[in-house]
């Protein structure tokens, strides 16, 4: 039996480097693995932690996700965040978790905070709203960190910056980064340009981009682009001979 | 001189006890020879080393020292088992297999071709009287039927040596008799049989030679007749005869029309002999 044990040790020594390299290769390709630390156990409970250790990460994460939806129906934002943290930690490569977690915090929770009838003080409601915005942004950013190839997360982040923070520079950056990815929605590069157009001092940059897109062909000559192009041509006082003819919009 | 069917030379088997210094000596310097065609009875009380000896013969256990050969081949070599058929004590074969499927399975293990297996299965099922039960699952067999299918599987590859461990244990008298008759039939075909049994009456009926093990050592071994004969006594089978009449009768027999039925040494039963020998040992 001792010899058999020594054989296993020798095999262990022989495979150690190979396995370490294989894991590194997988991490380089995709960020992998839940962080199995105590805070995870505290978040998801002891049995779920043991189950997650045994390779049940997927089903446990799905269970937490369903639980998060139940808490959403009960409007329990704090506990919902804990459940979503558990799900995203167990399945960091699941884009849907990050996307929806960010949406829940940045949109639903923040609006609920502003509408909170139990909190009479506006300043505190605004504070809570900003806190939820920060949490939402954090989900989007961490989601991107774990899934750098996800155009959806960049899109959602850009929309968040645009709609909630009205930070056009950040929105332009997010849309622009997303547009570089192979699976990016077809409109994302245009969205980036629209946001750049709203940044004081960068109108020219936006105009050049939108003009280039216009010249790419009919599929880019969409109403919003034409409107923005027209607006920028006026603002930048583009000489007539250099202007692009914008067809007038039909009267409603 | 023919190669012995079994040749055990100075075999010792010692089992270490885990986590303890002392060891158990199951077999101690055992030597025995079984000639081809013999039926050899290996006897002994529980714990005497019979099972260990059988397992050594079958190559299931390696001796600590000594050698064992089957028809001249080392018994630890897998190839030597081509010549051996084994029926363990109270075996449970695979209950979901039919009689025929069981023989098919063991036939494949012996390297027989499909055609040969079919042929042998038919022969053996007829021999052991299980033709009508060939398609029935073993789970529905009686104890006697299981023993008989066990004998059939032991015989599937036409071995020259059969090792049978308690072949009639738990079998009713009728079934027991059938199995006894089968063994005698094997004997007439020249198959060597090594038989372990506690049923001394049966051993007495079928064995040529016996060996008695006690605490791992062979204490008596030889031809059955010789062992159980009482040398110092002479026996005449007469009715109502007195000692004084004996000498007179011998002279009278020659001249008279009376018929001497038998004159031989009186015999103890094997059971009596076995008990006398084993209870006297330290």
């Amino acid at each position: 039996m001792i010899i058999a044990f020594l054989m296993l040790l020798a095999f262990g020594a022989a495979r150690m480097r190979f396995e370490a390299n294989l894991e590194a290769e997988r991490k380089a390709l995709y960020f992998h693995g839940a962080k199995f630390n105590l805070s995870l156990e505290e978040r998801i409970g002891q049995m779920a932690f043991v189950a997650a250790l045994s390779g049940f990460r997927g089903p446990i994460a799905d269970g937490l996700w369903i639980y998060a939806h139940v808490l959403w129906e009960d409007v329990q934002w704090g506990r919902m965040k804990v459940a979503m943290d558990g799900a995203t930690e167990l399945q960091p490569r699941c884009v849907v978790f990050w996307e929806n977690a960010g949406w829940h915090m940045a949109y639903n929770a923040s609006v609920a905070a502003m509408d909170d009838k139990t909190q009479p003080r506006l300043a505190l409601r605004v504070k809570a709203q900003h806190e939820y915005w920060r949490m939402g942004e954090d989900y989007f950013l961490r989601g991107i960190q774990n899934n750098p190839d996800s155009a959806i997360l960049y899109t959602r982040l850009g929309s968040f910056y645009k709609e909630k923070l009205e930070d056009h520079a950040k929105a332009a950056w997010a849309y622009g980064e997303g547009a570089k990815l192979p699976n990016a929605p077809v409109f994302l590069h245009r969205f980036a340009a629209y946001q750049i157009a709203k940044i004081p001092g960068r109108e020219r940059e936006a105009y050049d981009l939108l003009k280039q897109y216009y010249l790419n062909g009919e599929e880019e000559q969409l109403p919003t682009l034409l409107t923005e192009l027209g607006r920028l041509q006026e603002k930048l006082k583009i000489p007539p001979e250099q202007k692009i003819a914008i067809p007038s919009a039909p009267h409603p | 001189m023919a190669t012995p069917a079994i040749s055990i030379q100075n075999v010792t088997k010692v089992y270490p006890i885990p986590f303890k210094r002392e060891k158990v000596t199951a077999v101690k310097d055992l030597s025995l020879t079984v000639e081809p065609g013999q039926v050899y009875g290996l006897l002994g009380p529980n714990g005497s080393g019979k099972s260990t000896t059988m397992k050594i013969v079958l190559g299931l256990v390696s001796p600590t020292s000594g050698t064992t050969e089957i028809f001249g081949r080392d018994s630890t070599a897998v190839a030597s088992r081509e010549e051996v058929g084994f029926l363990p004590e109270n075996p449970y074969f695979y209950k979901y297999l039919t009689g025929e499927e069981t023989l098919n399975f063991y036939g494949k293990l012996c390297g027989l071709s499909r055609a040969r297996i079919r042929e042998r299965s038919k022969e053996l099922l007829k021999l052991v009287g299980l033709e009508s039960a060939a398609d029935r699952r073993l789970g529905g067999y009686s104890k006697g039927m299981l023993q008989r299918i066990g004998l059939a599987q032991a015989m599937i590859q036409e071995p020259r040596l059969l090792v049978l461990d308690e072949p009639t244990a738990g079998v009713d008298p009728a079934g027991s008799r059938e199995i006894r008759d089968l063994i005698l039939d094997f004997k007439t075909r020249g198959i060597t049989v090594l038989l372990c049994s506690h049923l001394l009456e049966q051993v007495q009926e079928i064995c040529d030679r016996i060996g008695i093990l006690h605490r791992g050592a062979m204490i008596r071994e030889g031809k059955l007749e010789d062992l159980i004969s009482i040398q110092s006594q002479t026996e005449l089978i007469l009715e109502n005869a007195t000692p004084a009449l004996l000498a007179e009768i011998q002279a009278m027999i020659a001249a008279s029309p009376a018929k001497l039925i038998e004159q031989r040494k009186p015999q103890k039963t094997l059971e009596r002999y076995f008990l006398d020998v084993t209870t006297d040992q330290p």
Binding site: M1, I3, A4, F5, M7, F11, G12, A13, R15, M16, F18, E19, A20, L22, E23, L29, G33, F36, S54, G55, G58, A61, D62, W65, H69, Q91, R93, C94, V96, N100 | K55, L58, L60, V78, A79, R81, E82, V84, F86, L87, P88, P91, F93, Y94, Y96, L97, F105, Y106, L109, C110, G111, E123, Q153, A154, Q157, R160, V163, R189, G190, I191
Partner: protein, 297 residues
């Protein structure tokens, strides 16, 4: 019919016939196990129930369906591997059928190999059945999502949307993911076989195998800790080394998360993974044979 010496037959050192006879008999035996049917039914139930998670968007639904199904397939084949293998040797020893087999000219290697191949066949059947159900359920889920998409999506975006539906259901890496699940369960079977060669009972074998599998999922953490344990004390280092060297890395044989997330699994990574799995299986089997060869029966 007389017992004259049979025509001298040359004993084959290795015989596929003997191995397949033992393997097919083992499969027949295992397929009769009640636990096989219970585990299969539970697997079907989990896969079936996950179809009805209709509260979420179709992406989440498909993700949950794939996650639950692949998870069920993984756990149930693993459990089946451990439970079926744990009872193989003890049952044959207790019933004495082992003696009738090894009393024939059957090398112990072939006996063990035949038993192990029987288990592998059982796992293959179980996983195939569960995979077929999973793919059927996934197909119906996709059809439902396609119908809904056609109803609700404008024509201009329909092609893209349908593409997205298809990407969220079937991707080409489902099959590699399932193959890796098979190798993982086969590894667990080989490890259980090794443990059973020296274990005193089936219960002991099952308990030790389950613990080894649990530890196997965090083995990479111990390995990482050992390889980078700069300031760790000698006792801690020794502990990490012991776990890293003796326990299998079961996380390495887990591509389910990537499959569920729809990631493309490079062919080289897949080949390395199943190569590692095959090596584990081979080594554990050989060490198990080494133990069994010297076992007093």
């Amino acid at each position: 019919m007389t017992a004259t010496a049979p025509a001298p037959s040359r004993h084959q050192i290795f015989s596929f016939t003997r191995v397949t006879a033992i393997a097919s008999n083992t499969l027949l035996e295992l397929i009769r196990l009640k636990v096989f049917y219970f585990l299969l039914i539970f697997g079907f139930i989990v896969i079936g129930i996950s179809f009805f998670t209709s509260k979420m968007t179709f992406q989440e639904q498909h993700q949950a369906l794939k996650s639950a199904s692949l998870g069920a397939m993984s756990i149930f084949t693993w459990l089946l591997a451990v439970l079926a293998t744990a009872m193989l040797l003890p049952k044959d020893i207790e019933d004495r059928t082992l003696y009738t087999i090894l009393a024939k000219p059957v090398p112990r290697f072939e006996y063990l190999l035949g038993k192990f191949v029987g288990v592998l066949l059982l796992l293959f059947i179980a996983l195939s059945l569960m995979s077929m159900l999973f793919l059927v359920v996934l197909y119906f889920a996709e059809q439902g999502a396609i119908e809904q998409t056609i109803r609700t999506t404008p024509k201009a975006d329909l092609a893209d949307a349908l593409n997205q539906v298809h990407r969220s259901t079937f991707n080409s890496d489902l099959l590699p993911g399932i193959i890796v699940i098979y190798f993982k369960s086969a590894l667990c079977a080989a490890l259980t076989l090794l443990i059973s060669t020296f274990a005193s009972s089936s219960i002991f074998t099952v308990i030790v195998s389950v613990i080894a599998a649990l530890i196997g999922h965090i083995q990479p953490i111990a390995r990482e800790a050992y390889l980078s344990s700069g300031n760790a004390g000698p006792l801690a280092k020794a502990f990490f080394a012991f776990v890293a060297l003796t326990m299998p890395d079961l996380r390495a044989l887990d591509l389910a998360d990537d499959v569920i997330a729809g990631n493309v699994i490079p062919m080289l990574l897949f080949l390395k993974t199943i190569g590692l799995g095959s090596t584990y299986i081979g080594v554990y089997f050989l060490v198990g044979y080494f133990m069994f060869a010297g076992k007093e029966l």
